[in-house]
Symmetry: C2
Subunit: 368 residues, 2 copies
């Protein structure tokens, strides 16, 4: 029983430290740098544990906060909206090596036309059709963007996000996804170089491909973020084990509906998020997998549905599990589908040490 008002976000520090060390060691072995993505953690205390000066962010609010906390080399890895150029320049004026990304000539021209020292820009490459980016085959577009990056902008390289690695579980699929990610972005870099343009940085990244990559020839850095915390989506993909997930939501039992096979807790979507990332996986974990307060999972016991401040715990159909005996007031922990989404719902981490006791509170920020 933790003396913490529920719902609350727990962060298992020993697991976090092991997860941070594991991917670092793996990429060290491949001879490639890691540029951790801080969008999952949004915590300067986690940045301190990660120990990186070169990081990735998903918002300029992150760039501002992590720059103030000691990061010196920051990649803002969401296509730049032109109205944000002023903030980018303000951060760079503080001596931070902030770079941005674009995937179109209009955004490149907007940065080029802005007044001030050149802002480093990477061209976003689409290697799997999931989201943004220029296909490596569209050489004329790549070169047009590269040539537009002059004046207030400077072409610094290419980057891609292998989000397609989330579509299929298993190491073989992720090895293939990593090679597709590598080959695509390296081809784009070579196309730019063939046109006489510079391309010193070749950046890839997703947690599944970062773990699976066997060969990163031509790549200069890997970005990943979820690997620090882990979650049920990563476990369902086979990237980590459930016992490596460092993040959970502490909740209290507030009632039972024995006629329906439900236990009600005080963690709804405000605490867990509405993310249903495991819905398409082999094991649908609902809104999260339920554990005892000490973190031991009850396999097959999930949060079946959520309202704003209510979670309904039930047995996953077909799991053969039975509901644990829990009294009103008992605490449980809920492992998240998606660490980024669940963490976003909270403004602090309650840090749990090796002995299972709460040892610190780390602030967490949001916003843009």
């Amino acid at each position: 029983m933790y003396d913490i008002q529920t719902p609350a976000l727990l962060l298992d520090r020993p697991r976090l430290e092991r997860n941070i060390a594991r991917l670092k060691a793996r990429l060290d072995g491949l001879g490639v740098g890691l540029r951790p993505h801080m969008k999952t953690a949004k915590s300067v205390d986690v940045l301190r544990l990660v120990g990186a000066e070169a990081i990735t962010v998903s918002t300029l609010a992150e760039a501002e906060a992590f720059a103030a906390a000691g990061a010196t080399d920051i990649l803002y890895a969401v296509g730049l909206a032109p109205a944000k150029i002023g903030r980018v320049r303000a951060i760079r004026a503080r001596g931070i090596e902030l770079s941005v990304i674009v995937d179109n000539v209009a955004a490149a021209e907007a940065i080029a036309a802005s007044v001030g020292p050149p802002v480093p820009v990477l061209i976003e490459i689409d290697t799997d059709g999931c989201r943004a980016g220029v296909s490596p085959d569209h050489v004329s577009t790549l070169v047009a963007i590269g040539r537009a990056l002059k004046g207030g902008a400077e072409l610094r390289g290419v980057m891609t996000h292998g989000g397609g690695s989330y579509d299929e579980p298993g190491e073989a699929a992720h090895i293939a996804a990593a090679e597709q990610e590598r080959a695509g972005v390296v081809a784009a870099a070579e196309a730019l170089r063939a046109a006489g343009l510079p391309c010193p940085i070749v950046s890839v990244g997703s947690t599944p491909t970062a773990y699976a990559a066997r060969d990163l020839r031509g790549v200069t850095e890997v970005r990943a973020g979820v690997y620090m915390f882990g979650d049920l989506v990563q476990a369902g993909l086979g990237v980590i084990g459930v016992d490596e997930i460092a993040l959970s939501v502490l909740a209290s039992v507030i009632g039972h509906r024995r006629d329906k096979g439900w236990i009600l807790v005080d963690a709804g979507w405000t605490a867990l998020s509405r993310d249903r990332g495991t819905a398409g996986q082999d094991v649908d974990q609902g809104y999260g997998l339920v554990c005892a307060a000490d973190g031991t999972p009850w396999s097959g016991v999930i949060v079946e549905s959520v309202n704003q401040e209510h979670g309904i715990i039930a047995v996953r159909p077909g799991s053969g599990a039975t509901l644990p005996e829990l009294a009103v007031g008992d605490q449980v922990r809920i492992l998240p589908n998606h660490a980024c989404a669940t963490a976003t719902q909270h403004d602090r981490y309650h840090v749990i040490g090796a002995d299972g006791a709460a040892e610190a509170v780390w602030p967490r920020f949001g916003g843009w």
Copy 2:
């Protein structure tokens, strides 16, 4: 074009004021009090517009903040976890008439055993099988809870939430749901009174049933929250029109994928939430309906998918719509599926006046 960094939450003040006045007038006509649910707004500025001293909240953090802002009579409408009794007593010690709810003997006994002046307690009644509460048929349980409320607790009445009203669109369905909600909670009140227990408060509430109720005999108050802002779920249910939705997310175009029929914007699930409340309705609005920056909706143009900071705008299949012509940097507004969920992702409202100009920033709080 708003001079606001995107993504950002916009609140249309004239629509908000009309929505607040409309439900108030309707319930005045039925002779029943309205106890607005502030869980959607979480803003003391909105409380000021609502002008109520008697409110409903979903967290003790709301109770604390709204008490500090002038609310004097607060119902905390989520089953009480016993570890929260101390905070309830601390709020009451400030002279606030804070009442709580329970649906089981264990929680009732925990409050009764706590030391201090009696805390007013409502028994939660289940009138549609959606969530928590005691069925009105379970008279022995109702009476057992009522009798347990002594010592540090005092039975004050019954309450229910007609969440089943969200299952079916149309006024006829909501009129029936409202009558089911009314009849169930009044039956529970009568069962308690027949056992010689007091039951002065009989509280019902959901936005669809609050609008639909034709007869509220035996009910002393109605709770509703989403009615202030409105959202696509309410519009899909036929409770409000799309042109009455007061909340939207301002986003900027960051790129195009013309090969895929996509426009990319800088509003992902951190700004819109992962709520897919219209997925089961006749018109699935994806992660939100897209409007021009002035708020004019493009029917059939939706946010088809979201990542953390990316939204992908596309035409809704079968809608016959075409994508609007938008340039990189253009702003759009996105109407939310679920106002509560989208608002939760933000820490401030950018308030838009009758002339469409941004006129104020109102802080919004979260947490528990």
